[in-house]
C-alpha cells in the first residue's frame, strides 16, 4: 500500500513566478495493481509521479510505502530507495547516446556494487526477454523508437524493482507498438509488480490492463 497525505509541491516558492504544481493530495494506491493517472498536461501527474518515485521531495505532506515514511529522506537515501524500489520509463526514453544498448541497461545497477558479471547476465536476460538482444552492442541512437522504448524498459527492470513508474509511455509509439507495451505491463502485473502510469492516451486508460483510473486537474485529484 502506498499512502499519500496532504502532498503539496510549490516551485520557486516565495518568488514572483511561484507555481503550485500540487495542492494537497490525499490518496491510497494498492500494490500489485496498474494505476493510471489521467488528466490534461499541467495537471500535476508528472510532478506527483516524481514525488512518488523519490525523485523530488514534496514541499509538505508525507508518503508511506508499505508503512515506511519515504518523504523526509536525505538525498543519498532517496537515491537508494529510488534505485532499489522503483523502475522508471520516461516519455522520451532518456537513454544515454553513444554507449551500447547493454551498457545503457546496466547503468542503474552501477552504484549498487553488484558484481559486473551478475549485472551483465541480468541485463542480457532482460534484453532477450524483450527481444532486442541482437542489438545489444549497438549504440542506442541507431535503434528505432519502439526498440529504444524496450531498452528503457529493460533498464527500468535491472534492479528488480517492485514498482514501475511510467510517464506518458505511449507518447511516441504507434498503436501496434503501444498495444505491445500494454501487453508487457500486463505481464509485469502478473509477476506481482505495481505499475503507476501517467497518460492522457485513451489507448492506455481504456485498456483492460488499467485496474484503476485516478484523474487529476490543477494539482488536485478530481
Amino acid at each position: 500500500m502506498i499512502q499519500l497525505s496532504g502532498i503539496k509541491k510549490t516551485f520557486n516558492g516565495g518568488k514572483s513566478n511561484e507555481f503550485k504544481a500540487l495542492r494537497g493530495i490525499d490518496l491510497e494506491v494498492a500494490l500489485n495493481e496498474v494505476s493510471v493517472f489521467i488528466g490534461p498536461s499541467g495537471s500535476g501527474k508528472t510532478t506527483l509521479l516524481s514525488i512518488l518515485g523519490c525523485m523530488s521531495r514534496p514541499t509538505s505532506g508525507r508518503i508511506w510505502l508499505s508503512g515506511r515514511e519515504i518523504t523526509s529522506l536525505p538525498e543519498r537515501f532517496a537515491a537508494e530507495t529510488r534505485r532499489e524500489t522503483f523502475g522508471f520509463i520516461f516519455q522520451n526514453y532518456n537513454l544515454i547516446k553513444g554507449i551500447s544498448v547493454l551498457e545503457n541497461t546496466m547503468l542503474p545497477a552501477y552504484p549498487t556494487g553488484m558484481k559486473y558479471r551478475v549485472i551483465r547476465d541480468r541485463a542480457v536476460s532482460l534484453l532477450e526477454k524483450l527481444g532486442i538482444m541482437s542489438k545489444s552492442e549497438e549504440p542506442v541512437e541507431h535503434l528505432s523508437g519502439g526498440e529504444q522504448q524496450r531498452v528503457a524498459i529493460a533498464r527500468a527492470l535491472i534492479n528488480t524493482p517492485s514498482i514501475i513508474i511510467a510517464d506518458e509511455p505511449t507518447a511516441h509509439l504507434d498503436t501496434e507498438l503501444a498495444q505491445g507495451l500494454l501487453d508487457i505491463f500486463a505481464g509485469f502485473r502478473k509477476e506481482g509488480k505495481t505499475i503507476l502510469i501517467a497518460s492522457h492516451d485513451a489507448l492506455v486508460f481504456e485498456s483492460p490492463v488499467a485496474d484503476r483510473l485516478i484523474s487529476m486537474r490543477d494539482g488536485k485529484i478530481v
Binding site: M55, E75, R76, E80, R82, R83, N92, N94, P108
Partner: protein, 377 residues
C-alpha cells in the same frame, strides 16, 4: 568488496564516457600534458645538472687553499705545502697548476691543467672530447700553442677523455708541468692553489680554521661549500623558471576551470538521467573523481615521459641556454637519467593538486542536478 565493485563500475563508465567525447577531452589532455612536460623538463634538467656536478666533485679534494694578495687570488708558494701538511687531520697536500688558454683560431678559451700524474712525454697533451671538435684544423695531428713569451710550440694530441664527465672535461687540455709553465708563465716554486685531502670530513671546518691561522694570507675553500653553491644555484634556477612559467600554469588552470564549468547540454542531460535512474550525488562525484584521475594520470604520464626524452635524449633543447649557464662549448652534452619520487611529488603538487581543487566546485554543481529534471520536459 561492494566498494571495489562500485569503484570498478564507475571507472568503467568514466572510461567509456571519456572515449565518447575524445575530441573534446583530447584538447584538455594535450594542454595538461604540455604544462606537465614544461615543468618536469625544468625539474628533471636542474636535478640532472646537480647530479652531474656532484659526480664531478666526488673525487675532488675536500679543501682547496688559495692565496690572496690585495684581495685577489694570487699564485701560492709551494713552500706552503709543508705548513699545511703539519696540521693534524690532513692526509695529503698537493700544488695544482691550471689556467686558461685562448686559442685565436677557434676564438675559444680552453682549460689547461697539469694532472697529478702525467706519464706522457713533454710534447704531448691529453684533450677532452670537446677540444678536438672545436680546435680547428690540426697540423699533422699536433696542436699549435703560443707560450707566454711569444714562442710557438706544437703539442701532439695523444688521448681523448671519455664522455661521461663531459660537463667539466669537454674543454680540458692536460699537459706536463714543464710545458704548462712554458705556456702559462707561472714561475717555478709557485702554483695556482693547493689541494688538500682531509681524513675525516667532519673535521674540515676545524682544519680550515687552522689553515687560516697558520697562513693568514690564504683562503681555504671546502668541497662541501662548492657542492652547496651548486645545489642552491640549480635549485634556485629551477625555482626561478617555475616562477616564470607561472603565467602558463595560470592560463592552464583557467582553461581547465572553464572546461569543468562549461559542460555541454548533452553532458548535463546525461547526468540528469543518471540521477533520475537512481544515482546519488556522491555517485556522480565519485565518477567525476575517476574522470579526474584518468585525465590527470594520462597527462602526467604523457608529460613526464616526453620531458624525460627531452632532457635525457634530446639534451633539453628548449631550455639549455636558460638553465645550463656554461659556455657554449658543449653541444654534445648529455645527462644521465635520474628520476625520483621527490621530483614526481613536486610535479604532482604543482599540477594535479590545483587542477583537482579547481574542478571540485564546478563538478559538484553538475552533480547536484535535480533527479526529477528528466521528468520535466
Amino acid at each position: 568488496m561492494i566498494w571495489i565493485e562500485r569503484q570498478r563500475a564507475f571507472l568503467d563508465f568514466t572510461l567509456s564516457s571519456l572515449w565518447r567525447r575524445k575530441v573534446r577531452n583530447l584538447s584538455l589532455l594535450m594542454i595538461y600534458a604540455l604544462i606537465i612536460f614544461l615543468l618536469s623538463s625544468v625539474i628533471f634538467f636542474t636535478h640532472a645538472l646537480r647530479k652531474e656536478a656532484e659526480s664531478v666533485l666526488k673525487d675532488s679534494p675536500e679543501m682547496i687553499v688559495q692565496r690572496v694578495v690585495g684581495g685577489r687570488h694570487s699564485l701560492i708558494p709551494i713552500s706552503y705545502v709543508e705548513k699545511i701538511d703539519q696540521i693534524r687531520g690532513t692526509s695529503s697536500v698537493r700544488p695544482r697548476l691550471w689556467g686558461y688558454y685562448f686559442h685565436p683560431a677557434s676564438k675559444t678559451n680552453y682549460t689547461i691543467m697539469v694532472p697529478e700524474e702525467f706519464s706522457q712525454p713533454d710534447d704531448t697533451v691529453e684533450t677532452g672530447a670537446g677540444v678536438l671538435r672545436t680546435w680547428g684544423p690540426l697540423w699533422k695531428g699536433k696542436l699549435y700553442f703560443k707560450t707566454h713569451d711569444g714562442e710557438a710550440i706544437l703539442l701532439k694530441a695523444i688521448n681523448t677523455m671519455g664522455d661521461e664527465t663531459d660537463l667539466v672535461s669537454a674543454d680540458l687540455i692536460l699537459m706536463s708541468e714543464s710545458t704548462f709553465r712554458k705556456i702559462s708563465g707561472i714561475p717555478e716554486g709557485y702554483a695556482n692553489d693547493l689541494s688538500v685531502n682531509i681524513r675525516n670530513e667532519r673535521e674540515s671546518q676545524t682544519i680550515m680554521m687552522k689553515t687560516v691561522k697558520a697562513l693568514p694570507d690564504t683562503r681555504p675553500i671546502l668541497k662541501k661549500e662548492i657542492i652547496r653553491t651548486y645545489i642552491s644555484l640549480f635549485d634556485w634556477r629551477g625555482g626561478y623558471v617555475i616562477v616564470l612559467l607561472w603565467g602558463a600554469l595560470l592560463a592552464f588552470f583557467i582553461f581547465a576551470w572553464d572546461k569543468a564549468t562549461g559542460l555541454s547540454a548533452e553532458e548535463k542531460t546525461e547526468i540528469g538521467i543518471l540521477k533520475g535512474i537512481g544515482w546519488d550525488t556522491s555517485d556522480v562525484l565519485m565518477m567525476k573523481f575517476w574522470e579526474g584521475v584518468v585525465i590527470s594520470l594520462s597527462a602526467f604520464f604523457l608529460g613526464v615521459i616526453a620531458a624525460y626524452v627531452h632532457v635525457y635524449f634530446a639534451s633539453a633543447t628548449f631550455f639549455e641556454h636558460a638553465l645550463k649557464g656554461w659556455s657554449i662549448l658543449y653541444p654534445k652534452f648529455s645527462l644521465r637519467p635520474s628520476v625520483n619520487p621527490y621530483q614526481l611529488a613536486i610535479l604532482f603538487f604543482l599540477t594535479v593538486v590545483p587542477y583537482t581543487l579547481l574542478t571540485i566546485v564546478p563538478t559538484w554543481k553538475v552533480a547536484i542536478t535535480e533527479p526529477d529534471l528528466v521528468m520535466r520536459h
